[in-house]
């Protein structure tokens, strides 16, 4: 599980310091604090950013919006944004008419509010709303990552690292080569959200990353996975074998 990388675009050092402090103490990784449009673009493309917290006004210009628009204009690089705004620049912010789903936060804000705004931004960006605060689910699934809420913080897991997922009632045990953890999501939901060409169901309770399969032992109904993990292959899902490239 990795921390989320946050880029802060904020010209006021008092505000950005407070932000950095709050984010750091809640398990976020701040990749940088930009104070201008140019710097922001620079930092954005240099780092692997998961979320951007951006002030609408930078040095008296609505550069925050311009920055977001620039990012959104390029395909596949867009990230969730959290806009920071004060009451008096809200009108300009409104005029910008951001069509993208976005999250905004009115200054001044407290710790809970900024964390909530970031989580909402991730949800909205991935069109999976009401996840982190519902009792049925705590994970947003994207193409690349699983975003999991752990306590107050948000963590990410690279999906390609997952070896297999074992379902236990409402929970899923996610097993990577290095670690093992529990997320809250239903099996059907996660199956729908995961790339169907990589993840297959081999058993009522097992989802396997096809790239991590080392050996299949049909006699024992066992699938050997990398990192010495094992998954069960039930008769019902034996078609799974055909989908494997026979070496």
């Amino acid at each position: 599980m990795d921390n989320l990388n946050v880029l802060i675009v904020e010209d006021s050092s008092a505000d950005s310091d407070a932000l950095v402090k709050v984010l750091f103490s809640n398990g976020y990784n701040v990749v940088g604090v930009a104070t201008s449009y140019k710097e922001a673009l620079d930092l954005f493309y240099k780092n692997k950013v998961d979320v951007v917290v951006v002030d609408v006004f930078l040095n008296g210009n609505p550069d925050g919006i311009h920055f977001a628009e620039t990012i959104n204009a390029a395909p596949y690089v867009s990230k969730p944004f959290v806009f920071l705004t004060s009451s008096n620049d809200r009108q300009i912010f409104e005029k910008a008419k951001l069509t993208r789903p976005f999250s905004f936060l009115l200054k001044p804000f407290n710790e809970l509010e900024i964390l909530y705004a970031i989580e909402m931004a991730v949800e909205k960006f991935n069109s999976q709303t009401n996840v982190f605060f519902s009792q049925e689910q705590n994970t947003v699934v994207t193409n690349e990552y699983l975003f999991v809420k752990k306590g107050k913080a948000l963590k990410k897991v690279l999906i390609s690292n997952i070896v297999y997922i074992e379902v236990e009632e409402r929970y899923c045990n996610v097993v990577t080569e290095k670690e093992k953890f529990v997320i809250l999501i239903s099996l059907t939901k996660i199956l729908n959200l995961l790339d169907a060409s990589k993840f297959y169901r081999t058993h009522r309770n097992y989802i396997v990353n096809i790239e991590k399969v080392v050996e299949i032992i049909p006699a024992d109904n066992l699938i050997m996975l990398s990192g010495n993990h094992k998954a069960i292959l039930s008769n019902k899902y034996k078609d799974f074998i055909k989908k494997l490239r026979v070496l």
């Binding site: 009451s87 809200r90 009108q91 407290n110 710790e111 809970l112 509010e113 605060f133 519902s134 009792q135």
Partner: protein, 576 residues
């Protein structure tokens, strides 16, 4: 000779006609009775009236109208009778015969029908048929019910036979008729009868018998005024004398004849003059009528003009009234708006003064506190220092929230605020908002609980919800005593709304104040708690925000026990 005969007969038939009408009284009585009986039949009444008035054309018109819409046999018979007589009088003999034939056998006056038929046949020279008719009538007994001139019938019979050259019978009837005429003292008819008898004999060359009758007729004629009769009788005498060879006498009669003829002509001339006069009078009347018509036209034109101008005026009046009403209505609206604006303005002014007063006192308190702080800083009284700083923080906080409310209120009034409804997790927002108040509550030792269900979602604007919660929590803390409890919880009362309740165990609100608070544009000027800032602005803002989000606001409170602020918010409803 033939000339004489023809002349005489013609006279007789004509002479017979006026006789006929005089004995109509029985018929008239009967007609009147029937008119009474069939009062509803207007056309019958009119036909009868014109019949008795001898206005034949009108009779024909109304009787045909009546015939076209009646089934009553009596009326039909009467109508046919009227028509027959009218045609006869108009000399449309064939039409008359047709009408007479239409009359049914039940008709009350069959003998009159026969009589008229006989006369017509006689005129048409159908003597044998005429005789049949007349004989039939002649055979009727003398009776008061039957009312006709027997002498005329007998006379006509005689004439018929005379035409048929049945001289014996002719003689018998003519003589009898002359006797009857004598009895009736009807000189005209008597002259006719004598002339006919004379003719009878004369045609048989019984001159000796004929001449006395001619003479008698001639003498009698001197007593009457009928010039036509006189002239014909005189002519007869002249012809007789001429035939006898007594030319001087014949000449005398001729002259006399000429005289009567002239008289007759004179009469005709007078008649013609009368006709001319009548025509002239008619023309005159026509002229008058045209004049009157022209006048009428003028009057109509005048009247129309008046009417049009009246209508125009009326329309103008209506339009005027409409615009007047509209104006009154507009004025009313403007007045109402003005009143509202005045009220709002007053509210604003009041708010201004209250807010500035509060700010002034708060800042003043801060100022004083800072002075003491400085003093204590010099004396290094750290305990006091900490306390004073905390006090300052509290004052700054309250001033900040007041200013924030002021800003929000202004934004709301000027409709500048960003407003976007979305599905929001109620629990999270309550958590976030209460986070700010944690130190304040800790300071007052207030126990806080967020019991809002995590699954409750509401569909509102997030910033509005935050403002509402901030104010409610602020109030709850403000009006709570030390060691109090504040609970925030949700109640899923109905399918559309979710109730969010902020409950405290504070001082409560009196019923009167509750009502005041729920009133629109109400601001509490009275300070209920010393040292506590209360403008009512916060609650006012809450109410406006709740309303804008489609929610409802309620207060449940008991003085001394605590207050429940209930906010009913629309649930997550994407379709609505």
């Amino acid at each position: 000779m033939i000339k004489i005969k023809l002349f005489t007969f013609f006279l007789l038939v004509l002479g017979f006609l006026p006789k006929k009408q005089s004995d109509k009284h029985l018929l008239n009585v009967e007609i009147k009775k029937n008119v009474e009986k069939f009062k509803g039949e207007i056309n019958f009444g009119k036909a009868s009236f014109y019949f008795m008035e001898k206005n034949w054309d009108s009779t024909l018109v109304y009787s045909i109208k009546q015939l076209s819409d009646t089934d009553n046999k009596t009326i039909i018979d009467f109508c046919h009778y009227f028509r027959a007589i009218s045609f006869k009088q108009k000399k449309l003999l064939n039409e008359a015969i047709k009408e007479f034939n239409e009359i049914s056998n039940d008709f009350l006056f069959p003998y009159k029908v026969k009589l008229s038929l006989g006369e017509i046949l006689l005129k048409q020279n159908k003597f044998r048929d005429a005789i049949a008719c007349f004989q039939e009538i002649n055979r009727l007994p003398e009776n008061s019910d039957i009312d006709f001139n027997r002498s005329a019938v007998v006379h006509n019979l005689g004439i018929c036979y005379l035409h048929l050259n049945q001289f014996d019978k002719a003689e018998k009837y003519l003589v009898k008729s002359s006797e009857l005429h004598l009895l009736d003292k009807d000189t005209l008819m008597l002259i006719g009868a004598y002339t006919d008898i004379a003719n009878l004999y004369y045609t048989q060359y019984k001159d000796q018998q004929a001449i006395p009758y001619f003479e008698r007729a001639y003498h009698l004629s001197k007593k009457v005024n009928d010039f036509k009769l006189k002239s014909s009788v005189t002519l007869n005498m002249a012809v007789v004398e001429e035939n006898r060879g007594n030319f001087p006498l014949a000449l005398k009669y001729r002259k006399e004849y000429d005289k009567w003829k002239d008289s007759l002509n004179n009469q005709s001339e007078i008649w013609a003059v009368a006709q001319f006069e009548k025509k002239f009078a008619v023309n005159q009347k026509n002229k008058e009528i045209t004049l009157l018509e022209a006048e009428n036209k003028l009057k109509i034109a005048e009247r129309n003009g008046l009417l049009y101008s009246f209508v125009l005026l009326l329309v103008l009046l209506v339009v005027g009234i409409y615009y007047y009403m509209q104006k009154v209505k507009n004025n009313k609206t403007i007045l109402a708006q003005k009143a509202k604006l005045d009220e709002l303005n007053a509210t604003k002014d009041k708010l201004f003064s209250v807010v500035s007063h509060d700010l002034r006192s708060s800042v003043n308190a801060l100022k004083k506190s800072n002075v003491t702080l400085l003093e204590n800083f010099k004396t290094n009284n750290l305990d006091k220092l900490n306390k004073l700083l905390q006090n300052n923080v509290a004052i700054a906080n309250s001033v900040y929230s007041l200013l924030d409310n002021l800003l929000q209120w202004t934004l709301l009034q000027t409709k500048q605020s960003y407003f976007k409804k979305e599905s929001i997790c109620l629990f999270q927002i309550v958590e976030q908002m209460s986070y700010n108040y944690k130190p304040l509550m800790l300071d007052k030792n207030i126990h806080f609980e967020n019991k809002v269900s995590k699954s409750d979602l509401v569909y509102v604007d997030q910033e509005s919800l935050k403002i509402i919660l901030r104010n409610l929590l602020d109030n709850a803390i403000k009006f709570s005593n030390q060691e109090g409890t504040i609970t925030v919880y949700s109640l899923d009362v109905e399918s559309i709304h979710c109730n969010l309740i902020v409950k405290d165990t504070g001082i409560g609100i009196s019923k009167i104040n509750q009502k005041e608070l729920l009133k629109e544009t109400a601001l509490l000027s009275k300070k209920r708690n010393e040292g506590v800032i209360g403008t009512g602005l916060g609650l006012q803002l809450c109410k406006s925000m709740i309303k804008k989000n489609g929610g409802k606001f309620l207060i449940e409170s008991e003085e001394g026990k605590g207050t429940k602020m209930i906010v009913s918010l629309p649930k997550n409803n994407r379709h609505g």
